[in-house]
């Protein structure tokens, strides 16, 4: 039977068909739906972990204990999990171990465009790159076999277009799911120097064997056609090449670390002009150049952003259809904080108080956009709190003017250690934890403080105020972000205090609760057109002809706008 699956659904299906018993992840676009879909199979023990490092380590543990294990994360998640990955490469596996890395060329929803193919090379682990959903599923099975055969973790490298494109997949019955027996083997699994030195030498033997595998696997295949022009390519770029230059010869690299040198030489010798087409970094190109083979890559095709059929054709001087007329200068429509979002009041207050805000990653990063404009920095998950401390260490005067802002999921991911540092190193930072009871940005996943596991079964909740207190913060407050006067006073008070404080702005995400029917409306007789309400940046409020209006279909009655109106023109209306 055939089904139309996204790459992410196909990876999940692969986990089901090819005997994965344990699957872990921390959410992150474009990888999130992998675990959401794995969790549909009760045969597989699935879980959200607090961060990618933990997810990776649980999966490594499962593999060592004998299960086939999978862990999935977005590209930057691998940075967080890199430490266990690099040494798991030394220790190897018992049950097959698969890391799925989902990169985001074009940065549709990411803070950088790193090319994780280098991780495979860096960590000395094999890598497979699917070009559609069928391959995504099949490669899960192959990767697990390679993992067990060569005693090595394997990386499946996906990209946004593979993760989020649906293509046809042949479904099969699942193979038997078995967990191998566990046997204590300290020399294999205790990576202290004496053992690691032995492994270090073995790594190179393993690499030599994997190179041979890469030469013979059908995943690296030459499609001979017109020999005037040949392309070496992988992943989604393969699809673009096939469509851009259908008559060309192609070497499709599906097994992209180790790279098959002999196959590349054979292909290069068989075509007149050799190109390499790959998204973002010149990963294949550098390798081919280093082999002494002349090849055209990034001198012709862009290094930044996604590849496309038109980009390839234009670069080669071939015709493209092109736009039917010049693109219109259309007002952009970026994502915005939803009507009723509990984050809105916080950023309004921070804007009013003119504070420096070291920010973090989540829906609340949208507080950086106009009209709220209330975020100064966003680097990576967890950076908000340590950066606030850094501000203060650089210039003690900044302490009273700076707050760190972080979400609940992000705080548990990697914020707690930063808070420890503030307390330990005598910082005085004020930290705002925006606790909306969910991991919202990535589509509402549970986390250790929401009281539910991935399958929405009850779980113990991390007590965030108690956690902060345990770390050593004496001033911990919880406030309702819709009570704007109280929130503002509390922030003012705490930035002035010369010791660490945590303010937890607690209210569930507007999208996970039922709207009780309350809405607000604007009395146009009282509205003076001052536009104060426009400063809260609510998509339900518009302004025309010197009057503001609330769109009743969008309003969920949070009342933030009513609190900022100085003329009492915004009124509650029960329905």
């Amino acid at each position: 039977m055939k089904a139309l699956l996204t790459g992410n659904e196909a990876v999940a299906r692969g986990a089901y068909e090819f005997g994965v018993s344990v699957a872990t992840a921390y959410p992150g676009t474009p990888s999130t739906e992998i675990l959401e879909n794995v969790a549909q199979y009760p045969e597989i023990r699935s879980q959200w972990s607090p961060n990618e490092k933990v997810a990776m380590e649980v999966a490594i543990g499962a593999s060592v204990a004998g299960a086939r294990a999978l862990t999935a994360m977005k590209h930057v998640g691998v940075n967080v999990a890199a430490d266990p990955l690099f040494t798991a490469s030394y220790a190897g596996v018992n049950g097959g171990f698969l890391l799925v890395s989902a990169d985001d060329p074009g940065m549709h929803s990411s803070q950088n465009e790193q090319d994780n193919r280098y991780y495979a090379k860096f960590a000395k682990i094999p890598m497979l790159e699917p070009a559609d959903s069928q391959e995504a599923k099949d490669f899960v099975g192959l990767a697990l076999e390679v993992s067990e055969q060569f005693d090595v973790p394997v990386m499946l490298r996906m990209t946004t277009r593979i993760c989020h494109s649906k293509t046809l997949v042949e479904l099969m019955d699942p193979q038997a799911r078995e967990v191998k027996p566990y046997k204590k083997d300290a020399r294999k699994y205790v990576m202290m120097p004496g053992n690691a030195k032995v492994k270090r030498v073995e790594l190179e033997k393993r690499f030599a064997a994997l190179r041979e595998y890469s030469e013979s696997t059908p995943l690296n295949a030459i499609e001979w056609q017109d020999r005037e022009i040949g392309f070496i390519t992988s992943g989604i770029s393969y699809q673009y090449v096939k469509e851009a230059v259908p008559q060309a010869s192609v070497l499709k690299i599906g097994f992209s670390w180790p790279i098959p040198d002999a196959k590349i030489r054979e292909f290069a010798a068989g075509v007149k002009q050799l190109y390499v087409v790959e998204e973002t970094e010149p990963y294949l190109e550098e390798h081919i150049q280093a082999m002494g083979i002349p090849v055209i890559g990034k001198s012709l095709f862009p290094i930044a952003g996604e590849m496309s059929v038109s980009i390839i054709r234009k670069a080669l001087g071939l015709s493209v259809t092109g736009p039917s007329h010049p693109a219109e200068d259309t007002p952009v429509r970026p994502p915005v904080l939803c009507p009723g979002c509990p984050h809105r009041g916080v950023f309004y207050a921070l804007n009013q108080l003119r504070l420096h805000v070291t920010g973090d990653i989540g829906c609340y990063t949208l507080g950086a956009l106009p009209p709220l404009n209330a975020m100064d920095t966003t680097i990576c998950m967890g950076a908000s709190i340590p950066m606030a401390l850094g501000f203060e260490k650089a210039n003690p005067e900044l302490a009273e003017k700076t707050v760190a802002v972080i979400g609940d999921s992000t705080f548990l991911h990697s914020g707690v250690t930063g808070l420890m540092d503030v307390v330990y190193n005598h910082g005085t930072s004020t930290v705002l934890i925006l606790d909306n009871d969910i991991t919202a940005m990535t589509g509402h996943q549970e986390n250790p403080s929401t009281g539910k596991t991935i399958d929405r079964k009850p779980a113990p909740r991390v007590d965030i105020p108690a956690l902060c207190a345990a770390v050593g913060v004496k001033r911990v407050f919880t406030v309702d972000p819709f009570d704007m006067a109280a929130l503002r006073e509390l922030i003012k008070q705490e930035v002035a205090v010369r010791e660490p404080s945590v303010i937890i702005a607690k209210r569930p995400c507007a999208l996970i609760i039922r709207h009780d029917g309350t809405i607000y409306r604007i009395d146009h007789d009282k509205c003076v057109g001052c536009k104060m309400c426009m400063r809260v940046g609510c998509p339900a409020i518009s302004h025309a002809n010197k009057k503001s209006t609330i769109n009743a279909a969008l309003c969920v009655g949070c009342g933030v706008c009513a609190q900022v109106c100085k003329f009492g023109a915004i009124l509650k209306e029960e329905q």
Binding site: K2, H164, K166, T167, S324, R333, P335, L366, M534
Partner: protein, 190 residues
């Protein structure tokens, strides 16, 4: 058959994804190869959303290039405007006569372009507009706006009605099926 390319554009929350699922199901029932690409993650936050569906004997790229969309179904007028240069010459546009103002317009920094429908109609011979939310309300539920638009699209495509109906049977949960079939018919007959 030459590959057929279809863009569905709108605003997060308007139901473009379910609509494209139904289209993809139609393609499968017709025995075509099909690829469908969507960008989510930001979908719920009121941002622009676009789904691309390509069908034919063999589809490689899941993405449609500028000037190569045979059909554009716009769930919102500004989004029709944003993507209109993707339409191929002789292509068909189905536009929902609905305005959802983005933040820059709400705050008065930018103006919502005037005469979108007139300009688009001048440019493309095959342009059809309808008030899909009104039709959806008539059949019973605003949330069926997306299937109203599918009905309007189906009228201008060369695919038997029975295939569309089967596709809806296969993709829509039973309790919503009847509503959606009525919404589809309303869009088709309009």
């Amino acid at each position: 058959m030459k590959n057929m390319n279809m863009l569905l554009v709108g605003v997060g929350g308007q139901g473009t994804i379910l609509a494209s699922k139904i289209i993809a199901e139609v393609a499968m029932l017709e025995g075509h190869d099909v690829k469908m690409s969507e960008i989510h993650g930001m979908a719920q936050r009121g941002g622009s959303v676009v789904t691309q569906v390509r069908m034919g004997e063999k589809v490689y790229s899941p993405l449609i290039e500028e000037g190569e969309a045979d059909f554009i179904v716009a769930f919102e007028m500004l989004e029709a405007w944003r993507w209109s240069h993707y339409l191929t010459s002789g292509g068909t546009m189905v536009v929902n006569e609905q305005k959802i103002e983005p933040m820059s317009v709400l705050t008065g920094q930018r103006e919502y372009p005037a005469e979108i429908l007139e300009t688009l109609a001048e440019r493309s011979a095959k342009m059809y507009t309808l008030d899909a939310p009104a039709l959806a309300r008539e059949v019973g539920n605003l949330r069926a706006t997306n299937t109203v638009l599918l009905g309007a699209l189906a009228r201008h495509m060369d695919i038997p009605l029975s295939t569309w109906e089967r596709a809806m049977h296969n993709t829509i949960p039973d309790r919503f099926l009847d509503l959606n079939l009525r919404a589809f018919a309303a869009g088709y007959e309009r």
